[in-house]
């Protein structure tokens, strides 16, 4: 129970910090919007509705992935100011609680972006999903968590490296490829209605469980790396 309370305290702190500045959410929102517009210029989504259905799942997640990486770097930057991270290192509270709190906060931020973006996306790409839309209620959180949990972890991994901005994508993208494949396939399955997304949802669930466990187990090592 004390552990959960620590997680909640970290989460609340991150939410409050974000509420005061709104850096991460504003940045991500604008970034994803731009990605959507640029992709719409690259091909004509309203002229080719079938093509738009087949591609939009991938476009959505590529945009979200890029946007999330910008926010993930910001989220640890806050801990570096005034040597807060050193205080965390010396603190008696479990290190993984800090990680979980931050990952949950990032999950909330990216989910807000998704909720704001989904209608824009449907309008810009003239989308009429042909599959069962309710699956998206499962696919979106699972896919977001897959990106965010590893992203938060690898952003922490690169905290003291020379080129932090380069290191996060270099480590995160190759590891997340199976999750990206799963989430893009599942989303495409829902939008085109060509196949059932359940298989990919199960895969995402497995990915999430395995990597959440690995992150929680290894985070203390990363925090006390020196």
């Amino acid at each position: 129970m004390i552990y959960l309370r620590t997680v909640w305290l970290h989460l609340r702190k991150d939410l409050r910090l974000e509420w005061r500045s709104r850096d991460a959410i504003a940045g991500m929102l604008f970034f994803t919007l731009l990605v959507t517009v640029v992709f719409a210029m690259a091909f004509d989504p309203t002229g080719f509705p079938t093509l738009a259905r087949q591609m939009s799942g991938g476009l959505l997640w590529v945009g979200l992935l890029f946007a999330a990486t910008t926010a993930l770097n910001i989220s640890w930057e806050r801990e570096r100011r005034n040597q807060v991270l050193d205080a965390h290192r010396m603190s008696a509270s479990p290190a993984s609680a800090l990680f979980l709190g931050k990952a949950l906060a990032n999950l909330i931020f990216v989910s807000v972006i998704e909720l704001a973006l989904a209608p824009v996306f449907a309008v810009f790409y003239n989308l009429h999903p042909l599959g069962e839309v309710r699956w998206l209620l499962l696919i979106l959180p699972l896919g977001t968590w897959a990106i965010v949990v590893n992203g938060t972890f690898f952003a922490a991994l690169g905290l003291n490296s020379r080129n932090r901005e380069l290191m996060l994508p270099a480590a995160l993208f190759p590891i997340s490829i199976p999750a990206l494949l799963g989430v893009v396939q599942a989303t495409t399955g829902v939008i085109t209605g060509d196949f059932e997304p359940q298989l990919w949802i199960r895969m995402l669930l497995g990915f999430d469980v395995i990597f959440t466990t690995a992150c929680i187990l290894l985070f203390p090592t990363v925090l006390h790396a020196e």
Binding site: N150, L157, G158, N160, S161, R162, N163, L166, M167, A170, A171, F173, P174, I175, I177, P178, L181, L199, M203, G206, F207, I210, F211, A214, L218, T221, V222, A225, E226
Partner: protein
């Protein structure tokens, strides 16, 4: 030790030469593909070896994380082993991809197909390139820990990536060593010799690189010690 290294080195070069002779001049021509198939004698052994070194890397990394506080000297050796195996993995997977593409162009008519097995091998390549990149980016004392953690993640990721083979339709030939359409008995000697040759050659490369990294580590320590004494 040094003499043993050079003996092993000479042995592997001899094996590679003998394997080349067996594969090019002795093994029979394959019925449908013709001589092009001979690249299989390098492609398959290289790829099988390429799947062994990542596991050595992962085991060394886990052991490094376990011993890094308690037995520092052992941990440094394990770290050197992890670097050496990661670099050889990148080399072998790269060679495997290159030989596969050389074979794919005449047989499939395309250099690359987004088939599950090719994709998962490309992922293996990307994972270990990212391991080497991260290692280079991260700062001094931390880089070993950061790299070891990433290696554990890559090790977890590899089976998940390979699992996709079952779920994506596959264009890559089914395993030729077992089951139907397997190797003709006359092709086995050339294959096995090349298998041994590439594996031993990989071990020689790991060993050589390991020795270099160990010397670098010792040199860095000595510089640090001298700085303390002055």
């Amino acid at each position: 030790m040094k003499r043993l290294f050079f003996i092993l080195c000479a042995f592997s070069v001899a094996l590679l030469g003998f394997g080349f002779y067996e594969a090019v001049f002795v093994a029979p021509v394959e019925a449908t593909m013709g001589p092009v198939y001979r690249i299989f004698y390098w492609h398959v052994p290289i790829n099988i070896s390429a799947e062994v070194f990542p596991y050595v890397n992962m085991v060394a990394s886990i052991a490094f994380l376990y011993f890094r506080r308690t037995r520092v000297a052992l941990a440094e050796k394990l770290d050197a082993l992890a670097i050496a195996t990661a670099e050889v993995t990148v080399l072998y997977v790269g060679l495997g991809l290159a030989t596969g593409m050389l074979w794919g162009r005449p047989v499939w008519g395309i250099w690359w197909a987004w088939d599950a097995r090719l994709t998962s091998f490309l992922m293996l390549f990307l994972l270990y390139v990212s391991y080497l990149l991260v290692r280079r980016f991260s700062a001094g004392s931390q880089s070993a820990v950061v790299a070891a953690v990433l290696s554990v993640f890559a090790g977890i990721d590899v089976p998940i990536v390979f699992m996709s083979i079952r779920w994506w339709r596959t264009q890559h030939p089914a395993p030729v060593l077992t089951g139907e359409g397997s190797l003709d008995p006359s092709m086995w000697p050339a294959f096995l010799i090349n298998m041994a040759a590439w594996f031993v050659w990989g071990v020689v490369l790991v060993w050589g690189r390991y020795a270099v990294v160990r010397r670098e580590q010792v040199a860095t320590e000595q510089i640090a010690l001298q700085a303390l004494e002055v």
